[in-house]
């Protein structure tokens, strides 16, 4: 597993740049990942989505479905892709420090 410096501390990341220890996550780490994901500087709307993902994950240990995310944050999918060009999974979830969403492709 590769290591990199995020938010001033050394973090383990996977091939796609997802951090491996979600409990070490903090705002500085989020901002450093956001720089790599073309989502920097982070505005209030960025944080709204990231904090929602973070809270949902801490509560349910899983990423929310897209429909719920759109409903709860009031940000439509188009807006989300503007904020996070990598999209909700590759962009926002990574910045929020969630484990890599698994999905069948």
């Amino acid at each position: 597993m590769a290591k990199t410096t995020l938010g001033g501390i050394e973090m383990e990341i996977d091939e796609d740049g997802f951090i491996q220890e979600p409990d070490k996550w903090n705002k500085e780490i989020a901002e450093d990942i956001a720089k790599l994901e073309s989502a920097y500087p982070m505005t209030e709307e960025h944080w709204k989505l990231v904090n929602y993902l973070r809270d949902y994950f801490l509560k349910y240990e899983i990423a929310p479905p897209i429909r719920m995310l759109v409903k709860q944050t009031g940000l439509d999918l188009k807006k989300i892709y503007q904020l996070f060009p990598g999209g909700p999974a590759k962009g926002a979830c990574k910045i929020a420090g969630l484990p890599k969403p698994t999905g069948c492709v």
Partner: protein, 387 residues
């Protein structure tokens, strides 16, 4: 080859084409292809795949179109440590100019392994194997050449249809035009996954169903006709006079016994009400029998391969619909279905599974479609069986 691949070599034996042969050919000029052979051989030797599950990579602004793949022994195979697949949306009916095919291959030789899968069962032109860093520049070159990525993940998948009226006289509507129109209309749904799971739309121009839409699409559009078969009795006689055994090959095999051969008057008689539009007689006597003139399509829903539940064939939702631009009826229906499925579906639940869980009755009520006998799933051969 300096690599020793005894297990893979087995796959080169026999009369059929071999992907191993193709990869070996590419391995002479591409390092990733060389390592791909090594990974495959090791997987056979260890009897376990050496590809990791999943991977999230992509290009700016898109959530689908790229499938991330990583090898779990990258130190052994550094040139295929990342081997991502790009799905390129094919032109409707798979009509390419040789120029555009060359362009596609040139781009892929520059940014990827050079190996393609033309075409995958998704319909897309599949570009096999590249690194994360090459994805964006490759995508940029593809779009510059007029290509776009197709769907992957929990999105609308690349829409596919049979060759239709471009080459086939049996097509009951213009499949190419419909596929292109829907693709352009639903760009957002293709590129930005938003649903519980994948959703596939496929269109065949007649019940021969050359793209197997009934088995492979959640939303299946199959051409049919509302009036009756057109029979050219002179052409029928011509077949019979030339020794064609019309009774055994056609009349006896009509599944609904709608045909009768009048030996005395040399005439093929049709009980139009009994015809289930199976295409058998048309396929057997191409010069004598044709579909009717009032073309359109039957809309079916729910086809899928097994994952949560077993395989489903699509079943009838709308027995007959005219298929004409701007296709508003189809588009409205699709949007209504998606909205309901997205609201009620669990993660990775396909449309058919959701309908089965909640009930067809409730689904129809939400769609505002009255139930009709043609919707009965089993036993059923065709929407035109009335019972």
């Amino acid at each position: 080859m300096d690599e020793d691949t005894p297990l893979l070599d087995e796959l080169e034996k026999g009369p059929w084409p071999s992907y191993v042969k193709e990869i070996k050919r590419m391995a002479k000029k591409n390092k990733a292809a060389k390592d791909l052979l090594g990974i495959q051989e090791l997987s056979y030797k260890d009897r376990v795949t050496h590809w990791k599950h999943g991977g999230i990579v992509g290009v700016t602004g898109y959530g689908s179109g790229v499938i991330g793949r990583y090898c779990d022994v990258p130190e052994k195979f550094p040139d295929a440590a990342a081997f991502h697949t790009m799905r390129v949306n094919h032109p409707a009916g798979w009509f390419y100019s040789t120029k555009s095919l060359r362009q596609l291959c040139d781009i892929w030789e520059q940014y990827g392994s050079g190996m393609t899968n033309m075409h995958g069962s998704t319909g897309d032109a599949i570009l096999l194997g590249t690194t994360t860093d090459n994805l964006q520049p490759c995508f940029d070159s593809l779009t510059e050449a007029g290509f776009d990525l197709g769907g992957s993940g929990s999105a609308l998948r690349t829409i596919a249809g049979c060759v239709g009226q471009a080459r086939c006289e049996w097509s009951n509507f213009d499949t190419l035009k419909l596929v292109y129109d829907l693709t352009m209309e639903f760009q957002d749904e293709i590129h930005r996954p938003r649903w519980p799971y994948k959703f596939k739309i496929k269109a065949s121009g007649c019940p021969n169903d050359c793209v197997a839409a009934i088995a492979r699409a959640d939303f299946t559009i199959i051409g049919t006709w509302r009036d009756t078969l057109r029979i050219d009795q002179n052409a029928v006689r011509n077949y019979v006079d030339n020794g064609f055994d019309i009774k055994t090959l056609v009349v006896d095999r009509c599944p609904s016994e709608a045909l009768e051969w009048d030996e005395k008057n040399k005439e093929l008689k049709l009980q139009a009400d009994d015809c289930v539009r199976c295409m058998h007689c048309i396929n057997k006597m191409t010069k004598a029998i044709r579909p009717g003139v009032e073309g359109g399509a039957t809309i079916l829903i729910g086809g899928k391969a097994p994952i949560i539940k077993g395989a489903y064939l699509s079943w009838v939702l709308v027995p007959f619909m005219k298929i004409e631009p701007p296709y508003d009826e189809i588009k409205d229906l699709l949007r209504k279905i998606w909205d309901w499925w997205d609201e009620n579906g669990r993660t990775r639940e396909r449309l058919a599974e959701l309908i089965e869980r909640i009930g067809l009755k409730n689904f129809l009520k939400e769609m505002g479609i009255p139930p009709v006998p043609q919707m009965v799933y089993k036993p059923r051969a065709n929407p035109y069986v009335y019972f």
